[in-house]
Amino acid sequence: MRQDPNHDEENAERADLSRRLFLRNAGTVAAGSVLAQGLLGACASERASAAAAPAAPAKPDGAPEELAGEFEIVLDVNGEARKVKVEPRTTLLAALRERMEPAMTGTKHVCDRGNCGACTVHVDGKPAYACLLLAADLRGRKIKTIEGLGAPESLSPLQENFCAHDASMCGFCTPGFVMSITACLEKQPNADLATIQKACSGNVCRCGTYPHVFAAALATAKQAKKG
């Protein structure tokens, strides 16, 4: 199906993916599964090296490069070199969720149009929508996803505070909020409410948990202030 030039790969694979997501949630995560899934993403132990495929040939400096069809690239995701086969049109979001083996499904696919913020990741430390980035354009950049922030046994301070302040309802927006606030606090550890709200302005929560999200963020900032 991926060979068809008119095929919309993200949409077509959604049904399949939601089954995979459901099974993983049901099988590997205990009570509070959606929250935990959102906060933690996939476990580090699930990762394995990607199947080998011919890499896009290296070009000498200054020579243009033309990418077409399907090819393998290496992305720096959470400090690991991850091989993944992509096409030019493959977004980072699709590469993470649908093409990496094992899939990295902590980054959520919701609007796919850069409106909702559920797919927020960091690229070189700055928040970005993974649905509006081409994977092949991110070689050499440092990508951080929700899976890179904390592990089930060692949550990041912000993730701890999301739990403590009950900052998730359905949890689907949660990884995006955590990534946006993490980027904000990395830049300004003792950020005030207005700064945090501005940092979250590109994230939407349809359950309306904003006050709890802000409380979790402020608590993390206050802990940073105390040192």
Binding site: P5, N6, H7, D8, E10, D61, G62, A63, P64, E65, E66, L67, A68, E87, P88, R89, T91, D112, R113, G114, G117, T120, V123, K126, P127, A128, Y129, L132, L133, L134, A136, D137, S180, A183, C184, K198, A199, C200, S201, G202, N203
Partner: protein, 326 residues
Amino acid sequence: MKSFTLFNPKSLGDAVGALAAPTSSVKVLAGGQDLLTEMKEHLVEPDKLVNLKGVPGLDRIEFTAAGACTIGALVTVGALEEHAGVRERLRVLAEAAGSVGSPQIRSVGTVGGNLCQRPRCWYYRSEHAKCLKKGGDECFSFSGQNKYNAILGGGPSYIVHPSDLAPALVALGATVTLKCSTGERQVALERFFTLPGEGDIRRETVLRDDEVLTHVHVPAPAAGMQSTYVKFRERGSYDFALASVALALWRDGARVKEARVVLGGVAPIPWRAKAAEAALAGAAFEAATFARAADGAVQGAEGFGQNDYKIPLTKGLVQRALQSCG
């Protein structure tokens, strides 16, 4: 998204070379924050993207000793917003940059892309509506849902230009460099944008398919400039402008020497409100003058139902911008 070839030039020459004789449909990719949404909606389906990100020298903001500023097309909106020199010397531009999209969009979206972005009109953005902008016969906003459409300069299309940087840069008298394989030209930003009645209805600018916008040049502002960008949006978190005002103002004591007033979100181009500027030039810096400038700003404005509110809204924003310089 339809499949395409991704061309990654490492020099500007190779980039414009790839645009010179297109054998297939080619689009220029910078941050992609608008282009990729268009491609996902099948509004444009290029066979090839020419990716500028590997082209050196387009990601810098440079001031001359005299205070003129050159901004590369690949400078991100976020980098512009945070640049100390821009914040200090070109406040209207820093404020406009800070009002663009969300943090995620500002950290990836570029200055060049912001100026070249396509309309947000929901008829244009719907892949099911073949509107005037897409080769159809009708601007559906005129008889349809027109809450967000133009009150000035419209017809036969009533889109509004969505850029926040454009009104600020027009107020600052900016020019842009457009480069093709055989040369380059400098165009005043005010003339870069075209009204629907003026040129190709499918375009908003004079940029040709074989050209790349490479740099924005802001001349050194005359001494004593005060400036601000005031934007009103429907949603507080982030949104396009329902109406906005970019103001650059020079005062001589209690009088206005000169002012440039450029409106966003109300016309198919960043709208230079010359009647407002005339009302301000030489007048006392006081509320009665602000009111006359506000009237001037909407001279000739016409709503057609759901967008009528933009007229008093724009007047209010012009006065608010002037008051903030008090």
